[in-house]
């Protein structure tokens, strides 16, 4: 890898980092606006035209708030919690193929930070790490509600990670590779994995809701029972980091869902349009982002539709329904694959 490569990769990392931050920032705005539309309201409309400067105002407010660290908390871990949450949320974007290769002169620009051959496993690992931020923060707060929220987050993640992993296994059986780049490339045109793995996708998306702590699985921050859940004691930008991490997680898991099941940067008739390769690549990036935004919208749509699960219902759904279904999915996939061969 030459110096140019390193510089290009660095620039790409910065761009992707900025894009995820901006998307997360405007997800907060979109969430409020979409929530308002679902409830026949207007939503934020004062800061700038249609309220588009609202995230800036919110961010400024967060920075200007008083920083409170509880006297009896474990101060180091209290700070580590939100940092870990936002860091693990951000590093997931490294393996996602944002597009095909752009050819600029003689330089081939790969629109992916790194194509590691265990991409899916890496993503899975990062997602599992995400819960540590919540857990450590909730535990370090030395508050019963925070601790309960943290415990819920941990147990929820553990339960749903199994089903998620099992649904991915069925997917990997059909794709035969762990590299996200290859998985995306295989779903050329209309050959999206969701057609071959509808049940797997259903399980995956339910688990993705649970892993990102989004409603109806937002028990860790359940206001009615736990004040604020794991971030009860947090204030200022540390609270902002937790909330922000949730939106980045949403963005990343939307990207993962699009890549794994909805063809990533592929869109129908991509090579029969008669465009040059670079244009197809750029349109592919647009297509991927359209899919991502749809999934982000779907996250919010579900949030304002379904009420929160009770803790025991959550466990029932995870252990008694999703895991057996995922295993059945693997078995069926295996049988079908054997029959086809």
């Amino acid at each position: 890898m030459g110096t140019t490569d390193i510089i290009v990769k660095f620039i790409l990392i910065v761009i992707i980092f900025l894009i995820s931050l901006v998307v997360a920032m405007y997800s907060t705005y979109a969430e409020r606006k979409i929530a308002a539309f679902f409830q026949d309201r207007l939503g934020p409309s004062r800061a700038g035209p249609f309220g588009i400067l609202q995230p800036v105002a919110d961010g400024t407010k967060m920075f200007l708030k008083e920083e409170i660290i509880p006297a009896n908390s474990s101060k180091f871990l209290f700070i580590v919690g939100p940092s870990l949450a936002i860091m693990t949320a951000c590093i997931g974007s490294a393996v996602i193929p944002w597009g095909q290769t752009l050819v600029i002169g003689s330089y081939h620009l790969d629109l992916q930070v790194t194509d590691i051959n265990v991409g899916v496993l890496y993503l899975f690992g990062v997602v599992s790490l995400g819960v540590y931020g919540v857990m450590i923060g909730g535990w370090a707060s030395n508050n019963k509600y925070s601790l309960l929220g943290a415990i819920r987050a941990a147990s929820q993640n553990i339960s749903y990670e199994i089903a998620m992993g099992l649904s991915i296994i069925a997917l990997l059986m059909t794709t035969g590779t762990l590299s996200l780049k290859e998985i995306a490339a295989q779903q050329h045109g209309w050959h999206w994995n969701v057609v071959y793995q509808p049940l797997g996708f259903l399980i995956f998306i339910i688990c993705a809701f649970a892993e990102t702590n989004r409603s109806p699985f937002d028990l860790p921050e359940c206001e009615t029972e736990l004040v604020g859940g794991y971030h009860t004691e947090y204030s200022s930008m540390k609270l902002g980091f937790y909330l922000f991490a949730e939106y980045i997680n949403m963005f990343i898991s939307s990207a993962v869902m699009s890549t794994l099941y909805f063809g990533g940067y592929n869109f129908p008739f991509m090579h029969s349009l008669g465009l040059s390769d670079n244009w197809v690549t750029i349109l592919g990036v647009v297509a991927l982002f359209a899919k991502i935004f749809f999934f982000i919208f779907f996250f919010m749509w579900v949030r304002w539709t379904i009420p929160r699960f009770r803790y025991d219902q959550l466990m029932d759904l995870g252990w008694k329904t999703l895991i057996p279904l995922a295993i059945a999915n693997i078995v069926i996939t295996g049988i079908v694959l054997t029959l086809i061969k």
Binding site: A36, F37, F38, D40, R41, L42, S45, W301, T305, I306
Partner: protein
């Protein structure tokens, strides 16, 4: 017991069938309902300072001291409004009309100072009922907010109607 309205429905709790237990049809239905709101239902919000809801006809807002058809203040400082006020919000100091002020005041006695404490006022409208001269009406807007208590004591400068030919 006999049902009088004939609308009583006996509900029996049946165990959920397979599709009900599968959640998904219900969730899809719910998503459809919320989407209907997202797409078709208009927001009911009224963006207040720019858009105002019309008051009902008998809305009682800020007081105004009326003038007669020649632009003279109608109030004669009889004090009936202050007397009728259950919240003790009204005070006034009366003065005698001097020669040459006939174009300013309708009666021979008038209110030199007339103050309503808007923090005390409960907008019951008893003052306008009590007034024999039809001088006070609660036909104004909502009393605006302010920072200091003393600024809520409205004097004649805020209460008296604008003169006719100005």
């Amino acid at each position: 017991m006999e049902s009088l309205s004939n609308r009583r429905k006996v509900l029996e709790s049946k165990p959920l069938n397979f599709w009900e237990r599968a959640y998904l049809p219900a969730i899809v239905k719910g998503l459809g309902i919320t989407m209907k709101h997202f797409l078709f239902t208009k927001a009911v919000t009224i963006s207040y300072p720019e858009q105002k809801r019309e008051f009902s006809e008998n809305f009682r807002g800020m007081h105004s001291l009326k003038r007669d058809e020649h632009g003279r203040e109608r109030c004669t400082a009889c004090g009936l409004c202050a007397l009728s006020c259950p919240a003790e919000a009204i005070t006034m100091i009366s003065a005698e009309r001097k020669p040459g002020e006939e174009n300013l005041y309708r009666e021979e006695k008038y209110a030199a100072v007339y103050e309503i404490n808007m923090l005390r006022c409960i907008f019951c409208g008893l003052c306008e009922e009590a007034c024999p001269k039809e001088a006070i009406y609660l036909d104004g807007d909502i009393v605006p907010s302010d920072y200091l208590r003393k600024d809520f004591i409205y004097g004649k400068d805020k209460l008296v109607e604008a003169p006719l030919n100005q």
